[in-house]
């Protein structure tokens, strides 16, 4: 049996009275892209920063490549690359200088020109950090994370706040890492990111891992139901829609009724009949095949970005 590259067992971390981590456990195998999916404040960043050696856990075990991140010092740092959620560089450092600077700190490091080309930063090589767009800064952060050709890469919300086009560019880079057999630990609150990129996902909420598996497994675990979101001209009584044919669950979010149905056609027919009988009307109706979002809603009763 192979030893996992990342090993986390019963991790606890408090910030004053706030319990950020309450017994987080998971393992990541070599070459795997593993996602920590959860809303803001779920404990994703705390977990990743403990694994990067940036924070000390109150309790529990964290190992990366068999090393204790906190105590293994430079040997550990040579093995990892990371994109931090909140970080920066001096405004007046040039793109090429930044990559070259960090490259010099490592025993083993990549060619700067190759990295500039790979991350489409060649044209910006002489630009100051302050002159870069958000997407360019994030590409530079990724280039710097790979400057030592690490075996394990931590990406903490690498696409947060970026526009969809730039986000897709970052996805391509992460897929490239996957092809290069790098072990990647990714945190995100974007469902599509986890579904598209991750081999396995741990859903994290309120400092705990509440579900873990492949995106497919997690979606199937959400009872394989179709999500139907409707907006009505008049509100309906509590529980009325939950009694419709095929409906397994119904909740209200932001003025919309979100139903999960095991038999969508029958549910819709029943819904239309019910609304006619009550002189109510549909404002909108949307259907979604089972997703990680559904799994998250089922597990927590909340949306990811609430």
């Amino acid at each position: 049996m192979s030893i996992p590259v990342i090993q986390v067992e019963g991790l606890y971390k408090n910030y004053g009275a706030v319990e950020a981590l309450r017994g987080v456990s998971f393992e990541v195998e070599e070459g795997e892209v593993f996602g920590l999916l959860g809303p803001n404040g779920a404990g994703k960043t705390s977990t990743v920063e403990i694994l990067e050696g940036m924070r000390t856990p109150d309790r529990g075990l964290a190992r990366v490549c068999g090393l204790d991140p906190e105590k293994s010092g430079f040997e550990f740092k040579e093995q990892i690359g990371a994109v931090l959620q909140s970080t920066s560089l001096p405004d007046k450092i040039r793109v090429k200088e930044a990559i070259e600077l960090f490259a010099k700190f490592y025993r083993r490091h990549a060619n700067t020109d190759d990295l500039l080309k790979r991350f489409q930063l060649e044209e910006k090589r002489t630009a100051f950090y302050s002159q870069l767009s958000g997407g360019q800064k994030q590409r530079l952060a990724l280039a710097m994370a790979l400057v030592n050709d690490p075996s394990v890469v931590f990406l903490d919300e690498p696409t947060a706040g970026l526009d969809p086009q730039v986000r897709r560019e970052i996805y391509d880079i992460i897929e490239e890492l996957k092809r290069d057999k790098k072990t990647v630990l990714l945190t995100t609150h974007y469902i599509e990111e986890a579904e598209r990129l991750c081999d396995r996902v741990a859903i994290v909420d309120q400092g705990r891992v509440i579900a873990l598996g492949t995106p497919r497994d997690l979606k199937h675990a959400s009872a394989g139901t179709t999500r139907i979101e409707v907006r009505l001209t008049k509100p309906v009584a509590d529980g009325e829609l939950a009694r419709l044919e095929g409906v397994t669950d119904c909740r209200q979010f932001d003025g919309a009724y979100v139903m999960h149905s095991s038999r969508p056609p029958q549910t819709i027919v029943a819904l239309v009949k019910q609304l006619e009988a009550e002189s109510n009307e549909l404002q909108s109706l949307e259907m979604f095949s089972p997703s990680l979002e559904d799994a998250f809603i089922e597990l927590t009763g909340r949306r990811l970005r609430e």
Binding site: F74, K77, E78, S86, L89, L101, Y106, R107, H109, A110
Partner: protein, 309 residues
């Protein structure tokens, strides 16, 4: 990915690498150029032309005072820079790399020193050639005092940065310390004209050892042995202050320093407490300062006396 080179994570190489980039970044910063070059030269011209009215006897003394201010500027610059880097999350990016606090701190001291030297050189050349300073003074002593003084005051700045949690707090503490350094050390107002109790108090300030040492070196009025005591005081100050700043160094903006850790600052003052007690009890420094001042006054009255012919 092409792995091009294999290099070691050597603290000395890392220090030099960081020193070079810090110098480059500083040269791109107009504020730095203003405070490190234009302002000290402005002080020099103001003191020589307005206060000394161009009298040759005082030029060397004023050069010593202005060099002191130039060197002490490290205190402000480095503390503010370190706090800025920490608050902006720049330090935490460096924390991921295999470099320790030592190279981070040492590089800021070395780069600051290397960038202070041209200003020091310009100030000496201006005094010698533009203001007709009588002699070069003791240039070796100037070199040693500037070197150890720059390192000592940089380290003091780094300690302040490590024990303050916000930029605002840093500015307030800097202002208090800076004012004491500037006005109670002889860097702006000659110590010899102060009441005796202030003179005795000044012997506990590191700035006094830099100011009186540099003034004695530029005027060439002190012996090598007398200047050596200033160099020793500053060297001990560097060693203690650097180690304390290394111990207190924080990478993370949210890692607040505990009130207990702030007591370490007092440890940085211990060498100067010892020097102060010694100088007050058995030293000859105050006597030397008064003697040098009288010599300069005599020189001035001799120069301004009407000639017989």
């Amino acid at each position: 990915m092409t792995t091009a080179r294999i290099m070691g994570s050597n603290p000395f190489i890392n220090t030099w690498t960081l020193t070079k980039i810090r110098m480059r970044l500083a040269m791109r910063n107009r504020t730095f150029l203003f405070f490190s070059l234009i302002m000290p030269l402005g002080f020099l011209f103001f003191f020589v032309l307005v206060l000394a009215k161009g009298q040759a006897g005082w030029i060397a003394y004023i050069l010593g005072a202005v060099l002191t201010m130039t060197v002490m500027g490290s205190f402000w610059g480095l503390s503010v820079q370190l706090v800025t880097f920490r608050e902006q999350g720049i330090l935490r990016r460096f924390r991921l790399a295999p470099i320790g606090a030592g190279p981070m701190l040492a590089s800021s001291i070395v780069s600051n020193y290397l960038m202070t030297m041209p200003t020091v050189l310009i100030e000496i050349l201006v005094c010698r050639f533009a203001f007709h300073m009588i002699s070069w003074g003791n240039l070796w002593a100037v070199f040693l005092l500037v070197t150890f003084g720059s390192a000592a005051f940089s380290s003091f700045g780094l300690i302040v940065a490590s024990v303050t949690n916000t930029m605002q707090e840093t500015q307030v503490i800097n202002q208090l310390i800076w004012t004491a350094f500037l006005f109670l050390s002889g860097a702006t107002i000659p110590l010899a004209i102060f009441p005796a109790w202030i003179q005795r108090l000044s012997l506990f300030l590191p700035a006094t050892y830099l100011a009186t040492g540099l003034e004695a070196a530029t005027t060439n009025l002190a012996t090598a042995g007398e200047i050596l005591t200033d160099v020793v005081a500053l060297t001990v100050g560097v060693l203690v202050a650097f180690e304390i700043s290394r111990q207190l160094f924080r990478w993370e903006p949210e890692a607040k320093v505990s009130p207990r850790a702030k007591l370490w600052v007092l440890a940085a003052m211990v060498p100067f407490l010892i020097f102060g007690i010694y100088e007050n009890a058995a030293g000859t420094r105050l006597e030397r300062i008064r003697r040098d001042y009288r010599t300069l006054q005599k020189f001035e009255s001799h120069q301004s006396a009407p000639t017989d012919n």
